[in-house]
């Protein structure tokens, strides 16, 4: 990323700053966020045109820095059961999770570049069969239709992708709280009581678990379930409230959506 910032303890590209913070080489405590933002704004002011990519990356990194800093400034808690940590997870934290994931893929991309580079040093033998050999192999065009030939031509000649106008902004692959509410209503009605751990035991992704948690809170708010936690970081006990009022219909738009 092109954007650079300057603070009393750091000067350079903003993503490097985040790496240094992550790697403990710079304490987030010592970074005045205001000066980071000021420096960035000053830089943006100098731009001839708006670079959306850089802007959004800056926002993401700034958000993560704020998050880290606010955590650091508050008195910490530790030795919790890993499962219970989820209880405090919120959307902001998902941002960091996603950033970490992106960092992993960026590292993988570097690895790919190195592999490409290395593999390119060796060239495969492709000379093929000496034409003296008598071949009565099955017809290689068996089953190939003229349409497939045309398709292959288009694939081969589609040199550059045609730019298209982006009409969608919301991904299809969302886990919605609404869906989770419906699912949990259905399951809890049959079970009567359960625990959060039990309800989410089959889930593998963090986001799915978080969405179930938000759905439970929603159900609690609506009086459909009662929640109880025996002790700090203990398993969350969930009880279905059988005589609760008839639920209002669950519709889209009432809940936040989370990208998986």
């Amino acid at each position: 990323m092109a954007a650079t910032v300057s603070t009393p303890v750091f000067e350079g590209p903003i993503d490097l700053l985040l790496q240094l913070v992550n790697g403990h080489e710079v304490d987030v405590y010592d970074i005045p966020l205001a000066s980071v933002v000021d420096a960035f704004v000053a830089e943006v002011a100098g731009w001839e045109s708006v670079d959306l990519q850089t802007l959004s990356e800056f926002l993401m990194i700034a958000a993560v820095l704020i998050e880290l800093k606010s955590r650091r400034l508050l008195p910490g808690k530790d030795d919790g059961d890993p499962d219970e940590e989820l209880v405090g997870w919120e959307e902001r934290d998902l941002l960091l999770a996603r950033l970490l994931e992106c960092q992993a893929y960026a590292a993988a991309a570097d690895g790919f570049a190195a592999l490409f580079e290395r593999a390119a040093r060796s060239v495969p033998r492709t000379a093929g069969l000496d034409l003296d050999f008598v071949v009565d192999a099955p017809d290689l065009l068996e089953g190939v239709t003229p349409e497939q030939v045309a398709g292959a031509y288009l694939r081969a000649t589609a040199e550059r992708p045609v730019p298209t106008v982006d009409l969608y902004h919301v991904t299809v692959d969302t886990v919605t709280v609404a869906d989770a509410v419906t699912e949990l209503e259905w399951r809890l009605e049959g079970m009567g009581r359960s625990t959060f751990r039990h309800l989410t035991g089959h889930l593998t992704s963090r986001i799915e678990i978080i969405v179930r948690f938000l759905a439970l809170l929603e159900l609690c708010k609506r009086g459909r379930v009662s929640l109880d936690q025996g002790h700090t970081f203990g398993d969350l006990e969930v009880e279905w409230v059988a005589d609760a009022p008839v639920p209002v219909s669950v519709g889209a738009g009432l809940y936040d959506e989370y990208e998986g």
């Binding site: 405090g88 060796s122 033998r125 000379a127």
Partner: protein, 190 residues
């Protein structure tokens, strides 16, 4: 030490092959049990190393092939068309990494991760033959799902996908992660 007749035969077949040849096919051609193919190819590869040949026998994309020795890249470069023009951008490489690790994956899922529209990049990768659609997602819209191809493995010089480092290893160092986790632990009692 002279090559065994079977290793010679494998070498002859690989010399005329235009893409990696599977162990199963080699076994069929040589009329030997498939378990014997791996040791024979090992023998072949070892003998190439021992004699300091100008080529090597490698296992790639689920098969065996002969390729020039990497040491000799400067000499073979002009015969190969793998130069700068085909180098992928950072964006394309990252998208490729996402497909490799999350396959099968839809364009929307990639876009959600990368935070930008990836249509052009996905099409470029598809056009290069590194990724291909392998099906459609359930649910409305039935988005195309993408996976990496054998050509991807070949170009990366890999035999199987699981030779890629696990994604966990690519996350920032363990200390960093532990520490991040600590910083992010909920402060409230939940």
């Amino acid at each position: 030490m002279a090559l065994s007749p079977e290793a010679r035969a494998i070498e002859a077949v690989l010399i005329v092959a235009v893409e990696p040849v599977t162990a199963g096919l080699l076994a069929e051609l040589l009329e030997v049990p498939v378990e014997q193919v791996d040791p024979l190819c090992d023998e072949l590869a070892r003998s190439c190393r021992a004699e300091g040949r100008g080529f090597e026998v490698v296992r790639i994309a689920g098969g065996f092939r002969i390729q020039s020795h990497p040491d000799l890249a400067p000499y073979v470069e002009r015969f190969a068309n793998v130069g700068v023009s085909s180098r992928l951008s950072a964006a394309a490489l990252e998208t490729l990494a996402i497909v490799a690790y999350r396959q099968p994956v839809s364009r929307a899922q990639i876009a959600a991760l990368r935070g930008v529209n990836v249509d052009g990049v996905v099409r470029l990768l598809e056009h290069r033959g590194y990724i291909a659609t392998v099906g459609r997602a359930a649910g409305p819209g039935q988005a195309s799902l993408y996976a990496t191809t054998d050509a991807f493995l070949e170009r990366l010089g890999l035999d199987r996908l699981d030779q890629l480092p696990p994604v966990e290893d690519l996350l920032p160092g363990p200390e960093t992660l532990d520490d991040l986790e600590e910083q992010m632990r909920p402060v409230a009692d939940g």
